[in-house]
Symmetry: C2
Amino acid sequence: MSAFKIHDQLLRDCHVLGRLERSHVLLHRNALLHWFILVPETDHLDVLDLEKTIRLEVVGEAASLSFVLKKRLSYPKVNFAAIGNVVPQMHLHVIGRKPGDSVWPAPVWGHLTAASSYSAEQVSTIVDLLTTDCGLRENG
Amino acid sequence: MSAFKIHDQLLRDCHVLGRLERSHVLLHRNALLHWFILVPETDHLDVLDLEKTIRLEVVGEAASLSFVLKKRLSYPKVNFAAIGNVVPQMHLHVIGRKPGDSVWPAPVWGHLTAASSYSAEQVSTIVDLLTTDCGLRENG
């Protein structure tokens, strides 16, 4: 799968943080809330079409990001979704939510219009968290 | 878990179709597209917090609904999400989508405003499909 490429739209919207066993890990550039996007290396488009053991691993990777959102970044709630109506390449949203956040209780898609940016230092801190807690490693 | 009750808001929004091993299966009353909602019998609120083997089973049940949407109801695309910002009880959306549907490519939440209703016969046909393909059984 060395020819695998992350979709251009995802690259425009996100910081690329690294990878886990099955998936690349992105961070949406909008820093109003922590919004991770997992991009599994697969040609399937829908996560529910994945073969059972691979699906288990991919959802397990989402759970490890959810752990970081809840235990390290203090979010009480995580939104988890695989939509892909606009960008067809399979990608899973794992988003930290809390009552009173910028768009609460609406879902982020189509509602999160205000924007805030991460500093390079903030991105680096998140990479460190995921490296320690999820086994994130560099792409390559 | 005999005291388990499906949240009132979900009961208002949906037809109750029956249950699988882990979850109750609902069908959103808006018939513009087939929109299943799984309600696992658990006190956890976020699907990614479920213990690994239970999570696998619940996501497997979502995959069996996705199979019906794609193979029996001819949807090319399935949206899968666990949000729960408004109704806190864990529930998973498994939604059949196709280019050109009422809100394509937007997600349904907050966008699907037009409405259409199922006849009792249409609901019964869907129950039959899920009984055959997913092992749906009556609640109780």
